[in-house]
Symmetry: C2
Subunit: 202 residues, 2 copies
Amino acid sequence: MPRTREFDRTAVLDKAMHAFWEGGYRATSLDHLLAATGLSKSSLYDTFGGKQALLLECLDAYGRQLFAGPIEPLLRVDAAFDDIREVFTRILAHAATPAGRRGCLANTCIGELGGRDAAVSAATGAIVERIESGFAAAVATAQARGEITNPESPAVLARFLFNTLSGLNLAARAGASHERLHDIVRVTLDALAPAPAVAHTE
Amino acid sequence: MPRTREFDRTAVLDKAMHAFWEGGYRATSLDHLLAATGLSKSSLYDTFGGKQALLLECLDAYGRQLFAGPIEPLLRVDAAFDDIREVFTRILAHAATPAGRRGCLANTCIGELGGRDAAVSAATGAIVERIESGFAAAVATAQARGEITNPESPAVLARFLFNTLSGLNLAARAGASHERLHDIVRVTLDALAPAPAVAHTE
DNA sequence: TCGATATTGGACTGACCAGTCCGAAATCAG
DNA sequence: CTGATTTCGGACTGGTCAGTCCAATATCGA
C-alpha cells in the first residue's frame, strides 16, 4: 500500500558517515548531509530522527567497518603478534590513501565533543573498548608464545597500543608524512619485543 | 590624549585561550568569548581582528605557556632522560586536575580544523615542531650518556614520544583514568631504555 | 576647561543553523 | 480505477552565528 522508499538506508548511512568523518560533527551541517546523501530533509528526519541520532548510527556503522577492515586481524582466533602488526600495517596503508587524512571518526568526535555529549561518549567508548580488548587478547597470546617479551600485563600494553593508534590518527589528520607514521609504528611494535639490547657483555 | 584601554591585553588573551581550550573553535561562540573576557564586541574586534585571528594569538600564547610549564624541562641545557620523564610527570599531574580533562588546545584544533585552515595548521605545526625538537635534543643527550639504549635516531624517538603525548591528551579529553594515563607513560618511557630482557640465558 | 582622539556599548545585518510542517506525489491492495 | 498510506519536496520558523557600524563616553595634552 505505501509508497516505496527511494533510497537504501545502509547506503545513506555510509554516505553520512563519510561526511561526518571528513568534517566532524558541528562543521557538517544538515545541508551538507542532505547533499551527501541525496535525501530530502523530511526523509532524513523521518528515517534517522535528527542530526545527533544520525551521528550515533554513523558511529555504530563506523565501528562495524573498523572490525571488518583494519581491526579485523584482532578478531581471528589465536590472534597474536603478527595480527597486531597487521592491524598497524592496514592503518598505515589506509593513512596513505587520500581519504586517510581524515584520521578516525571516533577520535574526531572525542576531540570535538569529548565528555560533553553522553550518548556520543558512550558510542565512542564502546568502539575504544572493543579495539582495546582485541589488542589485549592478542597481546596475551603473543606473550604466551614468547613473541612479546615486554612483561607488562596485556591490558596495559593494549592501552599503550591503542594510545599509539589515537596519536597516529590525529597525526594523519594533521597531514603527517608516511615516514613519520611508519617511524611511530616501528618504535611502538619494537617496544613490545625489544631486541635483547646487550646480549653478552656487561 | 586617547581614552585609556580598560583591559589588560594579555589577561584577556589568557581568558580567551581557556575558553577555546575548553570548547574548541566552533563551539566557542563570540558571545562565549565576550562573556569569558568581559570585553565588548567592538573592543574584541578592534584589538584582535576577529575570531580566527584571536584563536591564532591564543595558540601562540598556549605554546608559550607550554614551554613555561610542562615542556620547560626540555629547554634546560643538557636536558636528558630525567627531563623527558619530568615532562610526562608534569603532563600527568596536570591531567589529574579538573582542568586536565580539556586535553591539549593544539590537539583539539588539529582534530577540529585539521588541514582545513592553513593559518591554524601553521600555528599548531609550530608548536608540534618545537616540542618535538626539544624531545630530539634530550634523546640525543640521553643516548650519548647511555640512559637511552633504544638505537632509533633522536628524531624518530621524538616522533614516538610526541605521538604518545598526543594520544594522552586525547585520552584525557575522553575522560581516561589516571591509572590508564600512567600505564601508557610507563610503557612509553620503558621503550626508550628497555630492561635488558634476557640477561644471561638463551 | 576644552577639544582631539581612542575606546566602548549595543543595535544592527545578512547568513546559516537544526528542526517542523504540510501539500503533492507515488504506490499498491482491492 | 480508486483510495488508504507512506514518502517526498520545499517553504517556513525561531534561534544563533560572525562581523559591522556608529553614537556615547572617557581620557589627557594644551
